[in-house]
Subunit: 297 residues, 2 copies
Protein backbone atom coordinates (compact mmCIF):
# COMPACT_ATOMS: atom_id res chain seq x y z
CA UNK A 1 0.00 0.00 0.00
CA UNK A 2 1.27 3.48 -0.78
CA UNK A 3 0.80 6.50 1.47
CA UNK A 4 -2.37 7.88 -0.06
CA UNK A 5 -4.01 4.44 -0.09
CA UNK A 6 -3.18 3.90 3.58
CA UNK A 7 -4.32 7.43 4.44
CA UNK A 8 -7.67 6.80 2.78
CA UNK A 9 -7.95 3.35 4.30
CA UNK A 10 -7.44 4.64 7.84
CA UNK A 11 -9.71 7.63 7.38
CA UNK A 12 -12.50 5.34 6.09
CA UNK A 13 -12.08 3.19 9.21
CA UNK A 14 -12.55 6.29 11.35
CA UNK A 15 -15.59 7.45 9.37
CA UNK A 16 -17.17 4.04 9.86
CA UNK A 17 -16.45 4.01 13.58
CA UNK A 18 -17.86 7.51 14.05
CA UNK A 19 -20.96 6.73 11.97
CA UNK A 20 -21.62 3.58 13.96
CA UNK A 21 -20.95 5.36 17.23
CA UNK A 22 -23.68 7.90 16.54
CA UNK A 23 -26.10 5.28 15.22
CA UNK A 24 -26.51 3.92 18.75
CA UNK A 25 -28.47 7.04 19.77
CA UNK A 26 -32.10 7.44 18.80
CA UNK A 27 -33.77 9.31 21.66
CA UNK A 28 -36.22 11.73 19.97
CA UNK A 29 -35.31 14.44 22.48
CA UNK A 30 -31.69 14.27 21.35
CA UNK A 31 -32.19 14.07 17.59
CA UNK A 32 -31.79 17.77 16.87
CA UNK A 33 -28.54 18.27 18.75
CA UNK A 34 -27.16 15.02 17.31
CA UNK A 35 -28.04 16.12 13.77
CA UNK A 36 -26.11 19.34 14.26
CA UNK A 37 -23.12 17.49 15.75
CA UNK A 38 -23.09 14.94 12.92
CA UNK A 39 -23.32 17.65 10.26
CA UNK A 40 -19.94 19.08 11.23
CA UNK A 41 -18.37 15.77 12.14
CA UNK A 42 -19.06 14.48 8.62
CA UNK A 43 -18.37 17.70 6.74
CA UNK A 44 -15.38 16.33 4.87
CA UNK A 45 -12.53 16.68 7.34
CA UNK A 46 -9.26 15.03 6.35
CA UNK A 47 -9.09 13.06 9.64
CA UNK A 48 -5.36 13.87 10.01
CA UNK A 49 -5.48 13.61 13.82
CA UNK A 50 -7.25 10.26 14.16
CA UNK A 51 -5.17 8.87 11.28
CA UNK A 52 -2.07 9.83 13.29
CA UNK A 53 -3.47 7.94 16.29
CA UNK A 54 -4.19 4.80 14.29
CA UNK A 55 -0.84 4.83 12.52
CA UNK A 56 0.95 5.30 15.85
CA UNK A 57 -0.95 2.25 17.12
CA UNK A 58 0.33 0.35 14.09
CA UNK A 59 3.88 1.56 14.70
CA UNK A 60 3.61 0.22 18.24
CA UNK A 61 2.12 -3.08 17.00
CA UNK A 62 -1.03 -2.29 18.95
CA UNK A 63 -4.65 -2.98 18.10
CA UNK A 64 -6.48 -0.35 16.03
CA UNK A 65 -9.71 -1.22 17.82
CA UNK A 66 -8.14 -0.27 21.14
CA UNK A 67 -7.14 3.16 19.85
CA UNK A 68 -10.27 3.92 17.84
CA UNK A 69 -12.19 5.56 20.75
CA UNK A 70 -9.24 7.88 21.45
CA UNK A 71 -8.95 8.73 17.76
CA UNK A 72 -12.71 9.42 17.56
CA UNK A 73 -12.67 11.56 20.72
CA UNK A 74 -9.81 13.65 19.32
CA UNK A 75 -11.74 14.20 16.08
CA UNK A 76 -14.81 15.27 18.10
CA UNK A 77 -12.68 17.78 20.01
CA UNK A 78 -11.16 19.06 16.77
CA UNK A 79 -14.64 19.43 15.26
CA UNK A 80 -16.05 21.27 18.29
CA UNK A 81 -13.17 23.74 18.06
CA UNK A 82 -13.91 24.40 14.38
CA UNK A 83 -17.64 24.99 15.05
CA UNK A 84 -16.87 27.52 17.78
CA UNK A 85 -14.03 29.15 15.79
CA UNK A 86 -16.42 29.73 12.89
CA UNK A 87 -19.03 31.53 15.04
CA UNK A 88 -19.90 35.14 14.14
CA UNK A 89 -18.29 36.35 17.38
CA UNK A 90 -15.07 34.52 16.52
CA UNK A 91 -13.86 34.20 12.90
CA UNK A 92 -17.35 34.69 11.42
CA UNK A 93 -16.93 32.16 8.62
CA UNK A 94 -19.86 31.14 6.42
CA UNK A 95 -18.09 28.26 4.72
CA UNK A 96 -15.62 25.57 5.68
CA UNK A 97 -14.31 23.06 3.16
CA UNK A 98 -16.93 24.34 0.70
CA UNK A 99 -19.86 23.57 3.00
CA UNK A 100 -21.90 26.01 5.05
CA UNK A 101 -20.60 26.30 8.59
CA UNK A 102 -22.67 24.87 11.42
CA UNK A 103 -24.25 28.14 12.56
CA UNK A 104 -25.27 29.01 8.98
CA UNK A 105 -27.29 25.79 8.83
CA UNK A 106 -28.55 25.33 12.39
CA UNK A 107 -28.37 28.86 13.81
CA UNK A 108 -25.91 30.30 16.25
CA UNK A 109 -27.45 28.96 19.47
CA UNK A 110 -27.50 25.39 18.17
CA UNK A 111 -23.92 25.76 16.89
CA UNK A 112 -22.73 26.79 20.35
CA UNK A 113 -24.52 23.79 21.85
CA UNK A 114 -23.34 21.35 19.15
CA UNK A 115 -19.76 22.39 19.89
CA UNK A 116 -20.33 22.04 23.63
CA UNK A 117 -21.90 18.65 23.11
CA UNK A 118 -19.08 17.33 20.90
CA UNK A 119 -16.57 18.33 23.55
CA UNK A 120 -18.65 16.66 26.23
CA UNK A 121 -19.24 13.59 24.08
CA UNK A 122 -15.49 13.17 23.63
CA UNK A 123 -15.11 12.92 27.39
CA UNK A 124 -18.06 10.59 27.79
CA UNK A 125 -16.43 8.31 25.24
CA UNK A 126 -12.99 8.57 26.84
CA UNK A 127 -14.31 7.79 30.32
CA UNK A 128 -16.45 4.92 29.10
CA UNK A 129 -13.39 3.56 27.33
CA UNK A 130 -11.29 3.76 30.48
CA UNK A 131 -14.05 2.08 32.52
CA UNK A 132 -14.13 -0.79 30.02
CA UNK A 133 -10.34 -1.10 29.71
CA UNK A 134 -9.94 -3.70 32.45
CA UNK A 135 -6.37 -3.85 33.71
CA UNK A 136 -5.45 -1.09 31.25
CA UNK A 137 -7.73 1.41 32.99
CA UNK A 138 -4.87 3.55 34.27
CA UNK A 139 -3.17 3.68 30.87
CA UNK A 140 -6.45 4.59 29.19
CA UNK A 141 -6.91 7.35 31.74
CA UNK A 142 -3.35 8.60 31.18
CA UNK A 143 -4.14 8.85 27.48
CA UNK A 144 -7.47 10.60 28.10
CA UNK A 145 -5.88 13.06 30.52
CA UNK A 146 -3.19 13.97 27.99
CA UNK A 147 -5.92 14.69 25.43
CA UNK A 148 -7.86 16.79 27.95
CA UNK A 149 -4.82 18.94 28.72
CA UNK A 150 -4.15 19.41 25.00
CA UNK A 151 -7.72 20.66 24.57
CA UNK A 152 -7.83 22.96 27.58
CA UNK A 153 -6.30 26.11 29.01
CA UNK A 154 -2.70 25.01 28.46
CA UNK A 155 -3.46 23.85 24.91
CA UNK A 156 -6.02 24.63 22.24
CA UNK A 157 -8.06 27.19 24.14
CA UNK A 158 -5.23 29.49 25.22
CA UNK A 159 -3.84 29.10 21.69
CA UNK A 160 -7.08 30.49 20.33
CA UNK A 161 -7.00 33.33 22.87
CA UNK A 162 -3.44 34.28 21.88
CA UNK A 163 -4.52 34.17 18.23
CA UNK A 164 -7.43 36.54 18.91
CA UNK A 165 -5.22 38.90 20.86
CA UNK A 166 -2.58 38.90 18.12
CA UNK A 167 -4.86 40.32 15.45
CA UNK A 168 -3.76 43.53 13.80
CA UNK A 169 -0.47 43.67 15.57
CA UNK A 170 3.05 42.29 15.40
CA UNK A 171 3.83 39.70 18.03
CA UNK A 172 7.17 38.29 19.14
CA UNK A 173 8.56 35.00 17.85
CA UNK A 174 8.10 33.56 21.35
CA UNK A 175 4.39 34.46 21.32
CA UNK A 176 4.01 33.02 17.81
CA UNK A 177 5.64 29.76 18.89
CA UNK A 178 3.41 29.53 21.96
CA UNK A 179 0.33 30.19 19.86
CA UNK A 180 1.25 27.50 17.32
CA UNK A 181 2.24 24.95 19.94
CA UNK A 182 -1.06 25.43 21.77
CA UNK A 183 -3.60 26.14 19.06
CA UNK A 184 -2.75 23.32 16.67
CA UNK A 185 0.34 21.59 17.98
CA UNK A 186 -1.13 20.33 21.24
CA UNK A 187 -3.98 18.27 19.79
CA UNK A 188 -1.81 16.95 16.93
CA UNK A 189 0.69 15.90 19.56
CA UNK A 190 -2.01 14.24 21.67
CA UNK A 191 -3.01 12.22 18.59
CA UNK A 192 0.42 10.58 18.66
CA UNK A 193 1.03 10.53 22.40
CA UNK A 194 -2.35 9.19 23.58
CA UNK A 195 -1.73 5.78 21.93
CA UNK A 196 1.77 5.75 23.43
CA UNK A 197 0.26 6.21 26.91
CA UNK A 198 -2.37 3.58 26.25
CA UNK A 199 0.27 1.02 25.21
CA UNK A 200 2.46 2.16 28.12
CA UNK A 201 5.64 2.52 26.04
CA UNK A 202 9.07 2.93 27.64
CA UNK A 203 10.56 6.41 28.07
CA UNK A 204 12.86 6.21 25.03
CA UNK A 205 9.92 5.53 22.70
CA UNK A 206 7.87 8.25 24.37
CA UNK A 207 10.73 10.71 23.82
CA UNK A 208 11.01 9.79 20.15
CA UNK A 209 7.27 10.17 19.59
CA UNK A 210 7.24 13.49 21.45
CA UNK A 211 9.95 14.80 19.17
CA UNK A 212 8.16 13.51 16.07
CA UNK A 213 4.88 15.09 17.17
CA UNK A 214 6.51 18.45 17.97
CA UNK A 215 8.14 18.41 14.55
CA UNK A 216 5.01 17.73 12.53
CA UNK A 217 2.97 20.14 14.66
CA UNK A 218 5.37 22.97 13.89
CA UNK A 219 5.65 21.92 10.24
CA UNK A 220 1.87 21.97 9.91
CA UNK A 221 1.73 25.58 11.07
CA UNK A 222 4.67 26.88 9.06
CA UNK A 223 3.16 25.22 5.99
CA UNK A 224 -0.13 27.04 6.68
CA UNK A 225 1.79 30.32 6.75
CA UNK A 226 3.53 29.48 3.47
CA UNK A 227 0.32 28.35 1.76
CA UNK A 228 -1.32 31.63 2.66
CA UNK A 229 1.33 33.41 0.59
CA UNK A 230 1.72 30.78 -2.16
CA UNK A 231 -1.97 30.73 -2.98
CA UNK A 232 -1.96 34.48 -3.37
CA UNK A 233 1.08 34.63 -5.61
CA UNK A 234 0.83 31.42 -7.61
CA UNK A 235 -2.89 31.01 -8.08
CA UNK A 236 -3.98 34.19 -9.77
CA UNK A 237 -7.60 35.20 -9.38
CA UNK A 238 -7.72 34.16 -5.74
CA UNK A 239 -7.90 36.77 -2.99
CA UNK A 240 -4.66 37.99 -1.48
CA UNK A 241 -3.43 36.03 1.56
CA UNK A 242 -5.61 36.51 4.61
CA UNK A 243 -2.61 36.72 6.93
CA UNK A 244 -1.33 39.84 5.17
CA UNK A 245 -4.82 41.32 5.07
CA UNK A 246 -5.25 40.72 8.81
CA UNK A 247 -1.70 41.93 9.55
CA UNK A 248 -0.94 38.64 11.21
CA UNK A 249 2.51 37.72 12.39
CA UNK A 250 3.58 34.45 10.75
CA UNK A 251 6.81 32.62 9.97
CA UNK A 252 6.72 34.32 6.56
CA UNK A 253 6.33 37.85 7.94
CA UNK A 254 8.97 37.25 10.61
CA UNK A 255 11.60 35.44 8.52
CA UNK A 256 10.64 35.89 4.89
CA UNK A 257 9.38 33.28 2.45
CA UNK A 258 12.63 31.39 1.83
CA UNK A 259 13.71 31.20 5.46
CA UNK A 260 10.20 30.02 6.40
CA UNK A 261 10.62 27.22 3.86
CA UNK A 262 13.96 26.33 5.41
CA UNK A 263 12.42 26.21 8.87
CA UNK A 264 9.65 24.00 7.51
CA UNK A 265 12.21 21.56 6.12
CA UNK A 266 14.13 21.58 9.39
CA UNK A 267 10.99 20.76 11.38
CA UNK A 268 10.09 17.92 9.02
CA UNK A 269 13.64 16.56 9.16
CA UNK A 270 13.57 16.66 12.96
CA UNK A 271 10.32 14.71 12.95
CA UNK A 272 11.59 12.13 10.49
CA UNK A 273 14.92 11.70 12.30
CA UNK A 274 13.14 11.12 15.60
CA UNK A 275 11.36 8.02 14.30
CA UNK A 276 14.30 6.63 12.31
CA UNK A 277 15.04 4.03 15.05
CA UNK A 278 11.66 2.38 14.35
CA UNK A 279 12.86 1.46 10.85
CA UNK A 280 10.32 0.19 8.30
CA UNK A 281 7.46 0.26 10.80
CA UNK A 282 7.61 4.06 10.80
CA UNK A 283 7.10 4.37 7.02
CA UNK A 284 3.64 5.90 7.24
CA UNK A 285 4.46 8.46 9.94
CA UNK A 286 7.54 9.41 7.91
CA UNK A 287 5.48 9.88 4.76
CA UNK A 288 2.95 11.86 6.81
CA UNK A 289 5.67 14.35 7.73
CA UNK A 290 6.55 14.80 4.04
CA UNK A 291 2.86 15.01 3.18
CA UNK A 292 2.44 17.88 5.65
CA UNK A 293 5.43 19.63 4.04
CA UNK A 294 4.18 19.21 0.49
CA UNK A 295 0.40 19.52 0.77
CA UNK A 296 -1.10 22.15 -1.51
CA UNK A 297 -4.13 23.02 0.67
CA UNK B 1 -25.37 24.20 63.60
CA UNK B 2 -28.60 25.19 61.88
CA UNK B 3 -29.29 24.80 58.19
CA UNK B 4 -28.24 28.25 57.03
CA UNK B 5 -25.03 28.08 59.05
CA UNK B 6 -24.13 24.70 57.57
CA UNK B 7 -25.07 25.90 54.07
CA UNK B 8 -22.76 28.89 54.43
CA UNK B 9 -20.03 26.78 56.00
CA UNK B 10 -20.01 24.29 53.12
CA UNK B 11 -20.22 26.95 50.45
CA UNK B 12 -17.25 28.78 51.99
CA UNK B 13 -15.28 25.51 51.89
CA UNK B 14 -16.05 25.23 48.17
CA UNK B 15 -15.12 28.85 47.49
CA UNK B 16 -11.80 28.29 49.22
CA UNK B 17 -11.10 25.11 47.28
CA UNK B 18 -11.94 26.74 43.95
CA UNK B 19 -9.86 29.83 44.76
CA UNK B 20 -6.88 27.70 45.70
CA UNK B 21 -7.36 25.48 42.66
CA UNK B 22 -7.04 28.42 40.31
CA UNK B 23 -4.15 29.96 42.24
CA UNK B 24 -1.90 27.15 41.05
CA UNK B 25 -1.93 28.57 37.50
CA UNK B 26 0.20 31.54 36.60
CA UNK B 27 1.27 31.04 32.98
CA UNK B 28 1.10 34.51 31.39
CA UNK B 29 -0.32 33.01 28.19
CA UNK B 30 -3.28 31.68 30.17
CA UNK B 31 -4.01 34.67 32.37
CA UNK B 32 -6.70 36.19 30.18
CA UNK B 33 -8.80 33.08 29.76
CA UNK B 34 -8.40 32.26 33.46
CA UNK B 35 -9.53 35.75 34.43
CA UNK B 36 -12.70 35.33 32.40
CA UNK B 37 -13.35 31.87 33.87
CA UNK B 38 -12.80 33.09 37.42
CA UNK B 39 -15.07 36.09 36.91
CA UNK B 40 -18.10 33.87 36.38
CA UNK B 41 -17.05 31.17 38.81
CA UNK B 42 -16.91 33.76 41.61
CA UNK B 43 -19.94 35.81 40.57
CA UNK B 44 -21.97 35.00 43.66
CA UNK B 45 -23.46 31.59 42.86
CA UNK B 46 -25.24 29.88 45.75
CA UNK B 47 -23.15 26.69 45.31
CA UNK B 48 -26.26 24.50 45.72
CA UNK B 49 -24.78 21.67 43.62
CA UNK B 50 -21.39 21.34 45.32
CA UNK B 51 -23.06 21.80 48.71
CA UNK B 52 -25.27 18.82 47.84
CA UNK B 53 -22.15 16.79 47.02
CA UNK B 54 -20.43 17.66 50.28
CA UNK B 55 -23.51 17.02 52.39
CA UNK B 56 -24.03 13.67 50.66
CA UNK B 57 -20.42 12.82 51.56
CA UNK B 58 -21.23 13.70 55.18
CA UNK B 59 -24.39 11.57 55.07
CA UNK B 60 -22.24 8.65 53.89
CA UNK B 61 -19.61 9.36 56.57
CA UNK B 62 -17.10 10.01 53.80
CA UNK B 63 -14.28 12.54 53.65
CA UNK B 64 -15.15 16.00 52.32
CA UNK B 65 -11.65 16.28 50.86
CA UNK B 66 -12.31 13.22 48.71
CA UNK B 67 -15.47 14.72 47.25
CA UNK B 68 -14.24 18.30 46.86
CA UNK B 69 -12.84 17.81 43.30
CA UNK B 70 -16.15 16.34 42.12
CA UNK B 71 -18.07 19.18 43.77
CA UNK B 72 -15.76 21.74 42.16
CA UNK B 73 -16.00 20.10 38.72
CA UNK B 74 -19.81 20.15 38.93
CA UNK B 75 -19.76 23.86 39.81
CA UNK B 76 -17.45 24.51 36.83
CA UNK B 77 -19.87 22.69 34.53
CA UNK B 78 -22.81 24.62 35.99
CA UNK B 79 -20.94 27.90 35.47
CA UNK B 80 -19.98 27.10 31.87
CA UNK B 81 -23.64 26.39 31.11
CA UNK B 82 -24.68 29.77 32.56
CA UNK B 83 -22.04 31.64 30.52
CA UNK B 84 -23.20 30.01 27.28
CA UNK B 85 -26.92 30.36 28.17
CA UNK B 86 -26.43 34.10 28.68
CA UNK B 87 -24.83 34.63 25.23
CA UNK B 88 -26.59 37.00 22.80
CA UNK B 89 -27.44 34.06 20.52
CA UNK B 90 -29.04 32.21 23.44
CA UNK B 91 -30.93 34.09 26.20
CA UNK B 92 -29.09 37.37 25.58
CA UNK B 93 -28.85 38.37 29.23
CA UNK B 94 -26.80 41.38 30.32
CA UNK B 95 -26.98 40.65 34.03
CA UNK B 96 -26.92 37.60 36.26
CA UNK B 97 -27.26 37.88 40.03
CA UNK B 98 -26.86 41.64 39.67
CA UNK B 99 -23.48 41.39 37.94
CA UNK B 100 -22.72 41.88 34.25
CA UNK B 101 -22.70 38.58 32.37
CA UNK B 102 -19.40 37.24 31.10
CA UNK B 103 -19.78 38.42 27.49
CA UNK B 104 -20.70 41.94 28.63
CA UNK B 105 -17.36 42.16 30.44
CA UNK B 106 -15.00 40.13 28.27
CA UNK B 107 -16.74 40.13 24.88
CA UNK B 108 -18.61 37.36 23.18
CA UNK B 109 -15.63 35.44 21.78
CA UNK B 110 -13.93 35.26 25.17
CA UNK B 111 -17.21 34.21 26.82
CA UNK B 112 -17.59 31.31 24.39
CA UNK B 113 -14.00 30.27 25.16
CA UNK B 114 -14.33 30.75 28.93
CA UNK B 115 -17.36 28.45 28.88
CA UNK B 116 -15.51 25.90 26.75
CA UNK B 117 -12.53 26.08 29.08
CA UNK B 118 -14.58 25.63 32.27
CA UNK B 119 -16.16 22.52 30.78
CA UNK B 120 -12.76 21.21 29.75
CA UNK B 121 -11.22 22.14 33.11
CA UNK B 122 -13.91 20.13 34.90
CA UNK B 123 -12.82 17.04 32.98
CA UNK B 124 -9.12 17.71 33.52
CA UNK B 125 -9.83 17.89 37.25
CA UNK B 126 -12.02 14.77 37.24
CA UNK B 127 -9.46 12.70 35.34
CA UNK B 128 -6.59 13.92 37.47
CA UNK B 129 -8.63 12.99 40.54
CA UNK B 130 -9.28 9.49 39.21
CA UNK B 131 -5.59 9.06 38.36
CA UNK B 132 -4.66 9.99 41.93
CA UNK B 133 -7.39 7.91 43.57
CA UNK B 134 -5.28 4.77 43.99
CA UNK B 135 -7.44 1.70 44.53
CA UNK B 136 -10.53 3.92 44.25
CA UNK B 137 -9.74 4.78 40.63
CA UNK B 138 -12.70 2.87 39.24
CA UNK B 139 -15.14 4.42 41.70
CA UNK B 140 -13.79 7.90 40.94
CA UNK B 141 -14.23 7.18 37.24
CA UNK B 142 -17.80 5.93 37.80
CA UNK B 143 -18.55 9.21 39.54
CA UNK B 144 -16.90 11.27 36.80
CA UNK B 145 -18.73 9.37 34.05
CA UNK B 146 -22.09 9.97 35.75
CA UNK B 147 -21.31 13.70 35.84
CA UNK B 148 -20.30 13.65 32.16
CA UNK B 149 -23.56 12.04 31.11
CA UNK B 150 -25.54 14.55 33.18
CA UNK B 151 -23.76 17.37 31.34
CA UNK B 152 -24.05 15.95 27.84
CA UNK B 153 -26.56 15.06 25.16
CA UNK B 154 -28.76 12.98 27.48
CA UNK B 155 -28.68 15.67 30.17
CA UNK B 156 -28.11 19.39 30.32
CA UNK B 157 -27.47 20.04 26.65
CA UNK B 158 -30.58 18.36 25.23
CA UNK B 159 -32.53 20.01 28.06
CA UNK B 160 -31.37 23.37 26.78
CA UNK B 161 -32.27 22.39 23.19
CA UNK B 162 -35.79 21.35 24.26
CA UNK B 163 -36.11 24.65 26.13
CA UNK B 164 -35.12 26.64 23.02
CA UNK B 165 -37.52 24.69 20.86
CA UNK B 166 -40.37 25.17 23.34
CA UNK B 167 -40.37 28.95 23.13
CA UNK B 168 -43.60 30.61 22.11
CA UNK B 169 -45.56 27.41 22.02
CA UNK B 170 -47.42 25.02 24.28
CA UNK B 171 -45.63 21.74 24.88
CA UNK B 172 -46.90 18.51 26.37
CA UNK B 173 -46.46 17.56 30.02
CA UNK B 174 -44.12 14.76 28.86
CA UNK B 175 -41.91 17.25 27.01
CA UNK B 176 -41.91 19.59 30.01
CA UNK B 177 -40.86 16.77 32.32
CA UNK B 178 -38.07 15.72 29.96
CA UNK B 179 -36.86 19.29 29.70
CA UNK B 180 -36.78 19.76 33.49
CA UNK B 181 -35.19 16.40 34.14
CA UNK B 182 -32.41 17.12 31.64
CA UNK B 183 -31.81 20.84 31.88
CA UNK B 184 -31.57 21.19 35.66
CA UNK B 185 -32.43 17.84 37.17
CA UNK B 186 -29.54 15.86 35.70
CA UNK B 187 -26.68 17.92 37.16
CA UNK B 188 -28.46 18.34 40.53
CA UNK B 189 -28.84 14.58 40.57
CA UNK B 190 -25.17 14.04 39.67
CA UNK B 191 -24.25 16.23 42.65
CA UNK B 192 -25.82 13.64 44.94
CA UNK B 193 -25.03 10.49 42.98
CA UNK B 194 -21.35 11.16 42.17
CA UNK B 195 -20.34 10.88 45.87
CA UNK B 196 -22.44 7.72 46.14
CA UNK B 197 -20.46 6.19 43.27
CA UNK B 198 -17.17 7.34 44.75
CA UNK B 199 -17.98 5.73 48.10
CA UNK B 200 -19.32 2.68 46.27
CA UNK B 201 -22.56 2.47 48.25
CA UNK B 202 -24.82 -0.61 48.13
CA UNK B 203 -27.84 -0.64 45.79
CA UNK B 204 -30.41 0.18 48.48
CA UNK B 205 -28.61 3.40 49.40
CA UNK B 206 -28.11 4.28 45.73
CA UNK B 207 -31.86 3.83 45.17
CA UNK B 208 -32.74 6.07 48.10
CA UNK B 209 -30.36 8.81 46.92
CA UNK B 210 -31.68 8.55 43.38
CA UNK B 211 -35.21 9.09 44.63
CA UNK B 212 -34.12 11.99 46.82
CA UNK B 213 -32.25 13.61 43.93
CA UNK B 214 -35.17 13.18 41.52
CA UNK B 215 -37.48 14.73 44.09
CA UNK B 216 -35.41 17.84 44.76
CA UNK B 217 -34.60 18.26 41.07
CA UNK B 218 -38.30 18.37 40.20
CA UNK B 219 -39.08 20.55 43.22
CA UNK B 220 -36.41 23.01 42.15
CA UNK B 221 -38.05 23.44 38.76
CA UNK B 222 -41.65 23.65 39.95
CA UNK B 223 -40.54 26.26 42.48
CA UNK B 224 -38.94 28.27 39.67
CA UNK B 225 -42.28 28.17 37.83
CA UNK B 226 -44.14 29.30 40.94
CA UNK B 227 -41.66 32.07 41.75
CA UNK B 228 -42.07 33.47 38.26
CA UNK B 229 -45.76 34.03 39.01
CA UNK B 230 -45.40 34.96 42.68
CA UNK B 231 -42.91 37.71 42.04
CA UNK B 232 -45.26 39.29 39.52
CA UNK B 233 -48.32 39.15 41.75
CA UNK B 234 -46.89 39.67 45.22
CA UNK B 235 -44.04 42.05 44.65
CA UNK B 236 -45.61 45.01 42.97
CA UNK B 237 -43.37 47.18 40.81
CA UNK B 238 -41.53 44.21 39.37
CA UNK B 239 -42.03 43.20 35.74
CA UNK B 240 -44.66 40.60 34.94
CA UNK B 241 -43.44 36.98 34.98
CA UNK B 242 -41.14 36.18 32.10
CA UNK B 243 -42.73 32.77 31.56
CA UNK B 244 -46.08 34.35 30.73
CA UNK B 245 -44.39 36.95 28.54
CA UNK B 246 -42.50 34.25 26.64
CA UNK B 247 -45.59 32.01 26.46
CA UNK B 248 -43.67 29.25 28.16
CA UNK B 249 -45.31 26.04 29.26
CA UNK B 250 -44.72 25.54 33.00
CA UNK B 251 -46.29 23.61 35.86
CA UNK B 252 -48.33 26.75 36.57
CA UNK B 253 -49.67 27.14 33.02
CA UNK B 254 -50.41 23.41 32.76
CA UNK B 255 -51.98 22.81 36.18
CA UNK B 256 -52.72 26.22 37.68
CA UNK B 257 -51.05 27.91 40.63
CA UNK B 258 -52.55 25.83 43.45
CA UNK B 259 -52.06 22.45 41.83
CA UNK B 260 -48.45 23.42 40.99
CA UNK B 261 -47.96 24.13 44.70
CA UNK B 262 -49.41 20.73 45.54
CA UNK B 263 -47.07 19.03 43.10
CA UNK B 264 -44.15 20.92 44.61
CA UNK B 265 -45.08 19.64 48.10
CA UNK B 266 -45.45 16.11 46.76
CA UNK B 267 -41.99 16.21 45.15
CA UNK B 268 -40.42 17.53 48.35
CA UNK B 269 -42.22 14.91 50.44
CA UNK B 270 -41.00 12.18 48.10
CA UNK B 271 -37.43 13.43 48.48
CA UNK B 272 -37.66 13.65 52.26
CA UNK B 273 -39.30 10.23 52.60
CA UNK B 274 -36.56 8.64 50.50
CA UNK B 275 -33.85 9.62 52.98
CA UNK B 276 -35.89 8.89 56.15
CA UNK B 277 -34.01 5.60 56.68
CA UNK B 278 -30.76 7.54 57.21
CA UNK B 279 -32.24 9.11 60.33
CA UNK B 280 -30.47 12.10 61.95
CA UNK B 281 -27.54 11.93 59.49
CA UNK B 282 -29.89 13.10 56.73
CA UNK B 283 -30.91 16.29 58.54
CA UNK B 284 -29.16 18.65 56.16
CA UNK B 285 -30.40 17.02 52.95
CA UNK B 286 -33.91 17.03 54.44
CA UNK B 287 -33.65 20.74 55.28
CA UNK B 288 -32.29 21.35 51.79
CA UNK B 289 -35.48 19.90 50.30
CA UNK B 290 -37.58 22.26 52.43
CA UNK B 291 -35.26 25.13 51.56
CA UNK B 292 -35.83 24.50 47.87
CA UNK B 293 -39.59 24.53 48.50
CA UNK B 294 -39.56 27.73 50.51
CA UNK B 295 -36.87 29.85 48.88
CA UNK B 296 -38.04 33.30 47.80
CA UNK B 297 -35.57 33.74 44.91
Amino acid sequence: MNFIEELNHLSVLIDKYLAKYFEQYDDPFENNILESMRYSLFAGGKRIRPVLSLSTAKLLSGSLDDIMPFAAAIEMIHTYSLIHDDLPSMDDDDYRRGKLTNHKVFGEAMAVLAGDCLLNEAYELLMQTALNAGNKMKHALDAAYFIARAAGKSGMISGQVIDMESEDKTVSFETLKQMYRRKTGALLKASVIAPAFYFNVPASIMDALNEYADGIGLAFQIKDDILDVESSTEELGKPVGSDEKNKKTTYVTLFGFNEAKNKLSTAVKKAVDAIMPFGEKAWFLKEMAFYIEKRAY
